[in-house]
């Protein structure tokens, strides 16, 4: 046992999945969820015994892989960040109708405050949307305990279970107490007589939807133990969930008088309306402390039984991360003054591309080519990855960044609308994630677009995980139907600048889709030797192939 081992909240979820006896773990990297997969991947590598851990091309693929493991009768974990669940939403929402065989747990990590994301959407809303249960831990130990519970719940109720974290918890490090590890035993594949449950043609789906709704009352019963009402002597009450629950718990240590407040603690959704009613009967005024969207606050407000304070009435700022200080201010607790902030004007130290990064050379070539053609006004559609940083001053090299894969389709759309030259810039991993179908449409449309694929051979920003399109980006592009004459592989190096500028100019002047693959390994992964084994094996394989008799002319 590794009792007392330090783990991040996300890692605790991965650890619990291993101990719950999973057969497979899947995911797509995304801050702050990445460490959940990496932790369980390391455990599986150390003790495989038939278990598998596999990064997927995107979150939807990851979710469907997990659903396949569940169908085969085994427990499985799938991990992603909040916006990744948008990509997997088709699979997630419809898996509510199929239900599960082996327990399926979804780790999703939200990012209120947008530390590393393009929005701060709240995954609890998506669980509600899909009629699926969501467990919301508030401590690292709960991340572990709730995940174990989620597997049992998933199998007992026959539905996938979401475990929802936020950045502060996913990246909170604390000591963990583990339970004994269960062997990855299976329940057996979905039996013949239940196969129709998994075939979502309308006649079956209608039936399954009725059954899903019929599960809801029993779900409330199963979850009741996680949502607790504590009576108090005050007529002011608090509703706390997630980090709001953690912060309030700690506040009561410092301010014992807060124990007089009736308290509704929520750790599982959906919430029983009867519990809410019982709480509201005890109070004349309510404060709601939850992380991200005002989910519980909006529900209580609809009852119009008393004033409800939170993000909707401005007691807590409407956007951004919840903080302990916001709880103190809302509750009018005294705050001790500390040191004065520095009076010196402090310029922001923005993250930037590493010195020597190949992306810098690719952007140099693009910008110089556009200048040479007198088209510095051209709009460049960017994508999600380290290279997004090029949108900042002074480079200002990207003029739109929306979501994974958008660069290609937006450039095609703009080109079809007459906005040329239309340029798209996308990384190799993002290309594999959702650029492939976009490129297929680009070819079909014949639109006048120039696509730069910045291939650094890894998923750079999230910690240099393997890229699924490793060393075959140009083959994928050719296979999609871009003519060979319009596909170039280039080395983004300062000494190659002239060659690269000319190649970009040629591509820009070609009146149809063309693709430039700028390939140079991420300097961080190079320094860490991430691909060393892969490259050595690949070299040996090629050598062997060239020596075998069949390959002789």
């Amino acid at each position: 046992m590794m009792d007392g081992t330090l783990a991040l909240g996300a890692e605790a979820v991965g650890c619990a999945a291993f101990d719950a006896g999973i057969k497979g773990a899947f995911g797509y990297p995304g801050t702050p969820s990445t460490e959940g997969f990496e932790f369980v991947e390391a455990m599986i590598k150390a003790e495989p015994e038939g278990r598998v851990a596999q990064w997927a091309a995107n979150e939807k693929v990851a979710y469907d892989l997990a659903l396949g493991v569940s169908y085969a009768g085994h427990r499985t974990l799938v991990t992603m960040k909040h916006v990744g669940l948008n990509v997997a939403l088709d699979a997630y929402a419809n898996s509510a109708l199929t239900g599960v065989r082996g327990g399926l747990v979804l780790l999703v990590a939200d990012d209120p405050g947008m530390h590393s994301s393009q929005n701060e959407q709240d995954s609890r809303r998506l669980a509600e949307f899909a009629w699926l249960p969501c467990l919301e831990p508030s401590t690292v130990q709960e991340c572990y305990d709730f995940t174990l519970r989620a597997f049992d719940l998933s199998e007992n109720m026959g539905v996938p279970v979401m475990v929802r974290l936020v950045t502060r918890l996913a990246h909170c490090r604390a000591a963990l107490t583990r339970q004994p590890t269960l062997a990855p035993t299976g329940l057996g594949v979905v039996p013949r007589e239940s196969v129709q449950d998994w075939v979502l043609i309308p006649s079956n789906a209608r039936h399954r939807y009725v059954e899903l709704l019929a599960k809801q009352p029993r779900l409330l019963q199963e979850l009741a133990v996680l949502n607790t009402l504590t009576a108090g002597t005050s007529r002011r009450g608090v509703v706390v969930a997630g980090m709001g629950r953690a912060y309030f718990q700690q506040l009561t240590l410092e301010h014992p008088a807060l124990a007089a407040l009736p308290r509704l603690e929520i750790a599982a959704y959906p919430v029983d309306p009867a519990l809410e009613a019982a709480f509201l009967a005890q109070v004349d005024e309510v404060y709601v402390f939850e992380e991200d969207y005002p989910v519980l606050e909006a529900r209580l407000g609809l009852r119009e039984s008393c004033p409800v304070h939170g993000r909707l009435d401005g007691s807590i700022p409407r956007t951004g991360e919840l903080t302990p200080r916001q709880l103190k201010d809302a509750l009018a607790l005294e705050v001790e003054a500390g040191k004065a902030p520095s009076s010196l004007d402090l310029p922001i130290r923005a993250p930037r591309l590493c010195d020597g990064c190949g992306h810098l050379d690719a952007f140099d070539a693009l910008q110089e080519a556009l200048r040479a053609l007198g088209r510095s006004d051209a709009r460049v559609f960017g994508d999600i990855g380290c290279y997004t940083l090029a949108a900042q001053e002074p480079m200002s090299a990207l003029h739109a960044v929306v979501e994974m894969g958008a660069s290609i389709s937006m450039a095609v759309g703009a080109a079809l609308a007459g906005q040329t030259p239309a340029v798209a810039v996308i990384g190799d991993s993002t290309f594999g994630h959702s650029g492939l179908p976009a490129l297929l449409t680009a070819v079909d449309s014949g639109a006048n677009v120039t696509l730069l694929i910045l291939d650094n051979r890894v998923v750079g920003m999230t910690g240099q995980q393997p890229s699924q399109a490793l060393d075959r980006v140009e083959r994928l592009v050719l296979g999609m139907g871009i003519p060979a004459a319009q596909v170039r592989v280039l080395a983004p190096l300062p000494r190659q600048l002239a060659v690269n500028v000319q190649a970009v100019q040629d591509a820009l002047q070609h009146p149809g889709p063309s693709v430039l693959v700028f390939r140079r390994e991420c300097i961080q992964s190079l320094r860490r030797g991430v691909l060393k084994d892969h490259d050595r094996n690949e070299e040996a394989r090629l050598e062997q192939a060239s020596c075998s008799p069949e390959s002789q002319p």
């Binding site: 918890l169 980090m243 718990q249 240590l253 001790e336 040191k339 009076s343």
Partner: protein, 199 residues
């Protein structure tokens, strides 16, 4: 009645300086000293040369909040002087600041260094450390973080033997020479513990 005190430490610097691994050493040392601990850190984009910070909380009762409020930290360990100024307001009135003088100036609009030092020296309880000079004298280019930790350790309820044990274990995978040099740097920092250099 006296309520249980929650203690907070803030560590800050620039991506790549080792802020998070320093925070983990502090966390482990406090934990081995029988205290309840929590650490909060932010990953992702900040790896790319941006501002990085972590918080470590400890108390003699179980904790649930990994972050502390402005004005409540008792110690700020800063691997970079300008970054230190961003977090000064996290310190309580009588909190301590242990800060490296060596700047990381690869950014736009870095203020004149003299202004940065003056602002730091105006902070009561500030300890400015010439990490560059110490690193030279120790013949250990990356000694800075361990030197700061050595000085900072004198403000924390952890026995010297525990610090040394945690540091030794942390660097053990990198060999005995690396371990020895980091312990030397830690000791050099501990030896700096005198009166604050600030106001």
């Amino acid at each position: 009645m006296s309520e249980p005190r929650v203690h907070g430490i803030v560590l800050c610097g620039v991506g790549g300086q080792g802020v998070l691994s320093l925070a983990q050493i502090v966390l482990e040392a406090l934990r081995r000293s029988g205290l309840f601990t929590l650490q909060s850190e932010i990953h992702g984009m900040s790896q790319r040369g941006g501002s990085v910070h972590a918080q470590v909380c400890y108390a003699d009762v179980p904790l649930s909040s990994p972050i502390i409020d402005e004005g409540s930290a008792e110690l700020l360990i800063a691997l970079e002087p300008l970054e230190a100024l961003r977090y000064v307001a996290m310190l309580r009135m009588n909190g301590h600041l242990v800060v490296a003088e060596e700047p990381q100036r690869d950014m736009d609009g870095y203020p004149p260094l003299a202004d940065v030092y003056a602002a730091l020296k105006a902070v009561r309880g500030a300890h400015l450390v010439d990490t560059e000079d110490l690193a030279r004298r120790l013949h250990h280019r990356q000694a800075g973080g361990m030197v700061l930790l050595g000085l900072a350790s004198t403000f924390l309820p952890v026995p010297n033997s525990t610090w040394r044990e945690v540091i030794a274990q942390r660097f053990a995978p990198k060999g005995s020479l690396v371990t020895k040099r980091n312990l030397e740097a830690f000791d050099a920092g501990r030896g700096l513990a005198t009166a604050p250099t600030g106001a």
